[in-house]
Structures are given as structure tokens and as C-alpha cells.
């Protein structure tokens, strides 16, 4: 192709091609192909989902009141957000209003999910792209203690404590099994933290994974006995009795007090560990404030979340506002209407589906999921073992969603940019604090570092909002309102013959929506557009690239054989394709293959 100009970027596929493919022997997930120039700078990027699924295959013909239970099983992390989106879609279709308590509890469940998900994402997934675990073994525990005490009042900070953790790590690594730390690019020149910072962050990695189990307990209390929370069309499936002294099922004051305690410790952990770590690590990687911005400085979108007023999903009610920003124009925030046929549309020009005239996009209510697996003439390899994709043709199982024809980035950064543009005070204060602490300009937000920082800030925001919603709940209960569900329209005999509705949710990783059509009391069609569809989107009919593809462009790599830089940027989006399959095998198989061609 030589070079192509699009959206202010120049794509050049003439250099060496590098493929990063998280191969499992079961099925593929997300695969990235890039071309690098002679200086190892990325000049072309291709993002592809390598697995086909459709929710239609499980939901068609089922009872819409059960849809949440199925969508909750799509994957193990997005459980709550898919379930919430589903009950909202069915409630919208059938005109069901939920009680105030149900709204507060749903907000509390979702802020809890934000806190846990962002925390786990940072430490378990993203931190090790920046933190060298093996280097931590060489740290001086005394200096680590000094570093810790200089950045945070967190209680676990003695030299003895860090020495003990270091010994545990040494034993673990020395036993020959790197275990959870296998497959890292340890020792790469791309890692820049001193050993003490590495030991501090690795210690917090262990503490965070241990601590997150406390946060999860809130989901379990409100969601019922099960680790998969229960949901309910019309409200929440738990009853509450403040005076209860042990009756079966109802949530009582003892459990509410336990939740309150967990909220306090969640706020403490995030503000004393996560945020100081984030800032400390970021200060060594400030060049990443200029890398990986992709579309974030141009087009971002948020559906809005945390309705403060039950059943009101307008910006008057939303604590994080909805909106779309185009071309980086923060002064004009556009409103989002998921029902408008000309706003959210999906293209399949470069996706392995057929949908009639492929120069046009389809609104999800008119969505078609008709698989059509064909490879372009430039493909290398075979149909079942693709070496290089041909991105000029169809190349992904992910469709290309667009807002009024524009690719947009979604996620914490998008939410924060929209909130900032809408003049939200709390968000603006948080962003200013980070910019000032790191001494970087406002443009630094539109980067891999900015995306990572926004997630941390939002994690703290969510933890404090857990307290806000908890207090709201107690106040409302004390006023004598115990209603948690509205079952007026529970019986299908009360429903119209045909109905359709939308449900949206800002999942931790970005804007999520479900479109449901109900016919004769059963699901007639169900379409989901998930956050990763927006971010990992392939090209569209106009050749516009998606957010991942844009974010990888112009990234300098230290060593293309060790694609840490690609992982850093892709991980900063919190990708969500590899949902469900895990099969044990006798030998630790290699999951990420890197091929240079």
C-alpha cells in the first residue's frame, strides 16, 4: 500500500511486520500486527479479534427476564456490568421503573466493581509492564522502606516487612517456577524503575490481590450467596430489614456495617497504595505521556453512569456525564442517543460478516450477525494458520462501531475527558492534581500514561462514591422505604406483543450497551456493542482506523522481539476479548507468541 493518510495519521506498511498473538490451543482472542520502520518505530497497526461469537446464539427465544443470567456468564470479569445492562434494556423495553433503593444498590454494586476491577487491572495486568519483578530481588529493603514512607502513610512500610516479602519472592523465583511472573520481559532496557521502586510495587501487587477479596464481599452480600451476583428485572433481588435479627435472606444491619467497614478500607487502600504507586511509577515513564494517545485527543465517547435519581438516565442525574467529543473540540460536547438510527452504527467492511450494502453501517436494532470468513489476497499463510492478515480486506471478527460515522475511544479516559469538558469539578480537580504532581501539560492526558492515570483516579473516585451511595442507602432505609423491587410488570401477560429497549452501562473498561427486541414475551433479537468493540475496532468503509490501531502508531520500540511497548498501550485500554475459556494442561504452554516477519 505504501502510505495511507487517515485521521491525521500516516500508515506505512513497508517495514518489518511483527505479530503479537496470544495463542491458546483452544481459540484465539486479540491479535495485533504492526509494521516497524528501520528505527523500530511503529508505522502501521492492525487490531483483530480472532474469535467468533454471537450472543444471538444463546439468547434468541429465551425469557427476557433471564437474559441477565446468560450474559453474566459471557466472561468472568464483566459479570455485573453485562447483567446490569441487560436488566436495564428489558426495563426500558417494558417501561418498568425501579425503586429508589434498587437504584442506590445498583450504583453501589457498580462502584464496587469499578474499585475492584481497576485495582486488579492495574496491579495484576498492567503494573508488570512497567515494574520489573526480577529487579525487585536486588532491592535494598531499607531504601524501599524509605521510598515507601516518602510517598504514602501506608502502614506496611518497615524494612523488615519488605525484606520478608523479598525473601518470599526469592524463594518463589528460586524454586525454578516463575509462576505468575513467567513470560515477562524481565531485564529489558524498557524497564526503568530502580530496584527499590520495583520491590515496593511488587509488594503492593501481592497486597492488592489479597485485598481485592474484601471488596468482592460487597457484591456477594447484595447479590446473594453466590459468587455470581443475582440480578432482577424491576429492581434488586435482595430484601433489607434493619431490625432483622437473623431471619433468612434479608440483609440486616450487621451486614450493612460490614459493608461500611469494607468501604473505609477500600478508600484507604486505593488512596494510600494505588494512587501513590501510580504517581511514583509514572514519574519514571514521563515519555509515555507523549506516546499512545491514538484517538483520545480527537474522539471520545461516554454513555454516562451512576444515575443519582432513580430511572433518570439523563445528564441531570448522571454523576459521570454522557457525551461525545469530536476532533478534540472540548467546547462542543455532543449528546448521545442510543435509539437514534443515525448515531451508533456498525460497519462490517473489514469484518468477517455480511450485511448487504457494506458501504453503510447498521444501527444495532437493525443489526445483522451473518458470519462470512474470507481472507484478502495479501494474506500470508492459510485459512486456519494465518501468518499475516491483509487489512485492506476483511480481517477481524470484531465489527467496526462508529458514532455518526466516527471511530471513538471509550473507557476511563474517555469518561474523564467528557466529564472535564462538561465542567465536572471533582474530575477536574483530580486531573489537575496529577498534571501538577507529574509536571506535565494537559496534552499529557491523551496518551498511554494519561489513560492509565485516568483509570487510577476513577478508581479513587468510585471508592469515595461507594461511601456516598452507602450513606444514601442508610438514609433512605431509615426514612422507612424498604422497597427493593417493582414487580407490577413481572408477569408476561402484562407485556405488549412487541417491545424494544436499550440498556447502557459504563463498564469499568468503557461504554457498553445492549439492544433487545421482545416479541410474544420472548427475546426476538439481542445485540451487544461492548467497550472492546469500540476500542479494538478494525477499519471501516472509509478506511478509518480504530482506537487501538491509532494508539500504537509512532510508538518507538526498544526491541521488536520483546513487544513491551505494544502491551503497555493495549493494556492501558483494559482489553476484554479473552473471556471465557480456561483449560488446564500438563505443561505451562506459551500463550503469547511473537513473530517477526
Amino acid at each position: 500500500m505504501a502510505t495511507i493518510q487517515t485521521q491525521g495519521f500516516t500508515l506505512d506498511d513497508s517495514g518489518q511486520r511483527i505479530v503479537v498473538d496470544p495463542i491458546t490451543r483452544i481459540e484465539g482472542h486479540l491479535r495485533i500486527e504492526v509494521n516497524v520502520d528501520k528505527s523500530n518505530v511503529i508505522r502501521n497497526a492492525v487490531s483483530t479479534g480472532t474469535m467468533w461469537r454471537g450472543l444471538e446464539v444463546i439468547l434468541k427465544g429465551r425469557d427476557p427476564r433471564d437474559a441477565w443470567a446468560f450474559v453474566e456468564r459471557i466472561c468472568g470479569v464483566c459479570t455485573g456490568t453485562h447483567a446490569l445492562t441487560s436488566v436495564r434494556a428489558v426495563e426500558d423495553a417494558l417501561g418498568i421503573k425501579i425503586p429508589k433503593n434498587a437504584n442506590i444498590i445498583r450504583n453501589l454494586m457498580l462502584t464496587t466493581q469499578y474499585a475492584q476491577d481497576h485495582l486488579v487491572h492495574f496491579y495484576h495486568l498492567h503494573a508488570l509492564d512497567w515494574v520489573d519483578v526480577v529487579s525487585a530481588l536486588n532491592a535494598d529493603p531499607k531504601k524501599t522502606s524509605e521510598l515507601q514512607q516518602s510517598i504514602s502513610p501506608w502502614r506496611n512500610s518497615s524494612p523488615a516487612y519488605f525484606r520478608e516479602i523479598q525473601n518470599r519472592l526469592k524463594k518463589f523465583v528460586g524454586s525454578g517456577q516463575l509462576g505468575i511472573f513467567a513470560n515477562g520481559y524481565w531485564g529489558s532496557a524498557a524497564y526503568r524503575l530502580p530496584p527499590e521502586a520495583n520491590l515496593m510495587a511488587t509488594t503492593h501487587y501481592l497486597e492488592a490481590l489479597d485485598f481485592q477479596k474484601e471488596i468482592v464481599k460487597i457484591q456477594t452480600i447484595f447479590g446473594g450467596k453466590n459468587p455470581h451476583p443475582n440480578w432482577l428485572v424491576g429492581g434488586v433481588p435482595c430484601s433489607i430489614n434493619l431490625n432483622d435479627t437473623g431471619a433468612v435472606g434479608a440483609i440486616n444491619m450487621t451486614q450493612l456495617n460490614m459493608i461500611s467497614g469494607i468501604i473505609d478500607s477500600t478508600i484507604e487502600f486505593i488512596d494510600q497504595v494505588y494512587i501513590p504507586d501510580l504517581l511514583a511509577i509514572a514519574s519514571f515513564y514521563k515519555d509515555w505521556a507523549k506516546i499512545g494517545g491514538g484517538l483520545s485527543g480527537q474522539n471520545v465517547m461516554a454513555y454516562g453512569e451512576f444515575p443519582d435519581i432513580a430511572n433518570d438516565y439523563s445528564n441531570k442525574s448522571m454523576l459521570l456525564p454522557a457525551g461525545v467529543i469530536l476532533g478534540g473540540d472540548l467546547k462542543n460536547v455532543h449528546d448521545v442517543d442510543l435509539k437514534a438510527p443515525d448515531q451508533v452504527q456498525e460497519w462490517v467492511t473489514h469484518s468477517w460478516y455480511k450485511q448487504g450494502d457494506e458501504s453503510k453501517g447498521l444501527h444495532p436494532f437493525d443489526g445483522v450477525t451473518d458470519p462470512h470468513f474470507v481472507l484478502g489476497p495479501g494474506t500470508k499463510g492459510t485459512r486456519t494458520n494465518i501468518e499475516n492478515l491483509d487489512e485492506s480486506a476483511k480481517y477481524s471478527w470484531i465489527k467496526a462501531p462508529r458514532w455518526k460515522g466516527h471511530p471513538v475511544e471509550v473507557g476511563p479516559l474517555a469518561r474523564y475527558v467528557v466529564a472535564f469538558a462538561r465542567g465536572d469539578k471533582e474530575v477536574t480537580e483530580q486531573l489537575n492534581m496529577v498534571l501538577k504532581t507529574l509536571d506535565v501539560p494537559v496534552t499529557a492526558l491523551f496518551s498511554t500514561l494519561g489513560r492509565t492515570a485516568a483509570r487510577g483516579l476513577e478508581c479513587s473516585w468510585a471508592a469515595h462514591k461507594m461511601r456516598y451511595f452507602y450513606d444514601q442507602l442508610i438514609t433512605n432505609l431509615k426514612s422507612g422505604d424498604y422497597a427493593t423491587a417493582n414487580v407490577d410488570l413481572w408477569e408476561p401477560s402484562t407485556w405488549p406483543a412487541e417491545a424494544k429497549g436499550i440498556g447502557s452501562c459504563e463498564a469499568p473498561r468503557g461504554a457498553l450497551a445492549h439492544w433487545v427486541k421482545i416479541k410474544n414475551t420472548r427475546i426476538d433479537s439481542y445485540q451487544c456493542v461492548v467497550p472492546t468493540t469500540w476500542n479494538a475496532s478494525p477499519r471501516d468503509a472509509k478506511g478509518q482506523i480504530g482506537p487501538y490501531e491509532a494508539a500504537l502508531l509512532n510508538t518507538p520500540m526498544v526491541n521488536p522481539q520483546q513487544p513491551l511497548e505494544i502491551l503497555r498501550t493495549i493494556h492501558s485500554f483494559d482489553p476484554c476479548l479473552a473471556c471465557a475459556t480456561h483449560v488446564m494442561s500438563p505443561e505451562g504452554e506459551e500463550l503469547v507468541a511473537v513473530k517477526v516477519r
Partner: protein, 209 residues
């Protein structure tokens, strides 16, 4: 929740992915077959990953049902004990890939590993059938898996009492996901457009042919 439980019986896997549902279906079957003494907890763990960390680390012993790939003939059952249960980790693209193995590894590093662990695994026939259910070769092994589990639980000092035939028992998970409802209401291949990736199609055709 946090109270130390004596034995956690965990079914893991994704019930939407054909034989990946083995673990969940096996723990359901065990639950329907027997009542166990206090101290034994049966759980449908799905693919929850880190959300199961509290359950895992609160248990003294763990019995886990799962689909296990040992390159054995499909439908083969295999029992693994303690060190045989792999606790390695993997490079992750997403926290969704936090599997049971990662959980075990993290629990070990944090000094919270269980005293004993037994895995009852089956070699799957088919995973790539989204919305599908167990294949016969796997389904027919469930009674044996349940018997192996009951034996193990008895050996640990927790014998199960068989439920009376036809006795009503609360499902472990949402009613709509119970095996019978899940299978009965599945849309047809044509309605659901259950085709797609050539790699899936070729394999499916190969099996039929």
C-alpha cells in the same frame, strides 16, 4: 464467606461453551445427588478468576471439577492431587485470563494455599460451540465424577447422604442456567446462525463426516 470452610467443592468453567461447562455441571450433579455435613461448601465458580480468591483461600481443602486438557481421548476422566494440580501462571492480556492456576499461584505466594487439593478433570470433546451443552462422551462421565468426589469427601471425613429421589433442592445458580432449562430453550442452529469461523466449521464438519 470468610469463615474457614473445611472443604470447598468448586465447579469451574464456562457453561456457555459446551464441554467447558463440565465443572459447573458436575458440581450441580453432586449437589443434586447428596447432602453434605456442615463444613462442606459447593460452589459454581464459573470463570470468575480473582473473585473466587476469598472462597479459595478460606478453604482448608479444595475439590475442583474442571475441563482438563491432557491430550487424552475425549471424555477421559483424570484425578490430580496436590502438586499434580498445576499452579503456574501465564502472561495475561486480560484479567479474564486469570484462571484457577493463577489463583493457586497467588494464594501460594501470599501463604494462603489450601492444605490439600484434588482436581477431577475431564478431557473435553468440544469447546467451540457457544451456547452449546455437554457432548455425550463428557456428559456420561458425570456420574463417575460425582462418585469420585463423594469418595474423596468421605475420605476427608465428610460423607454425603443421598437425597431422596425427586427431593427438591435449590439450584446452585440461576434457575435459567440449570442444565435442563439451558438445553431445552436453546435456539435452533438456523435461528441462532450458529456457524462462523472456518476453523470451527471445518472441525465440526470433520466430526460429522
Amino acid at each position: 464467606m470468610s469463615a474457614r470452610c473445611e472443604v470447598l467443592v468448586l465447579g469451574i468453567g464456562n457453561l456457555l461453551w459446551a464441554d467447558e461447562g463440565f465443572g459447573v455441571r458436575a458440581v450441580e450433579a453432586l449437589h443434586q445427588a447428596c447432602v453434605f455435613p456442615t463444613g462442606v461448601r459447593l460452589l459454581d465458580g464459573g470463570t470468575l478468576g480473582l473473585a473466587l480468591y476469598d472462597d479459595l483461600t478460606s478453604a482448608r481443602r479444595i475439590l475442583v471439577f474442571d475441563a482438563i486438557d491432557f491430550a487424552l481421548p475425549p471424555g477421559t476422566l483424570r484425578v490430580l492431587r496436590d502438586a499434580e494440580v498445576p499452579a503456574w501462571g501465564r502472561t495475561k492480556l486480560s484479567p479474564h485470563q486469570v484462571g484457577f492456576n493463577d489463583l493457586l499461584a497467588i494464594a501460594q505466594l501470599n501463604g494462603r494455599a489450601p492444605d490439600a487439593i484434588v482436581a477431577i478433570g475431564v478431557q473435553p470433546v468440544e469447546l467451540n460451540d457457544f451456547g452449546g451443552s455437554l457432548r455425550d462422551a463428557v456428559r456420561t462421565r458425570i456420574p463417575e465424577a460425582v462418585a469420585l468426589a463423594t469418595e474423596q469427601l468421605a475420605a476427608w471425613g465428610f460423607p454425603g447422604a443421598p437425597r431422596a429421589p425427586g427431593a427438591v433442592c435449590e439450584p446452585l445458580n440461576a434457575h435459567a442456567l440449570a442444565l435442563a432449562a439451558y438445553e431445552a430453550e436453546r435456539p435452533s442452529d438456523r435461528d441462532a446462525l450458529r456457524s462462523g469461523d472456518a476453523r470451527v466449521l471445518e472441525r465440526a464438519l470433520g466430526q460429522r463426516g
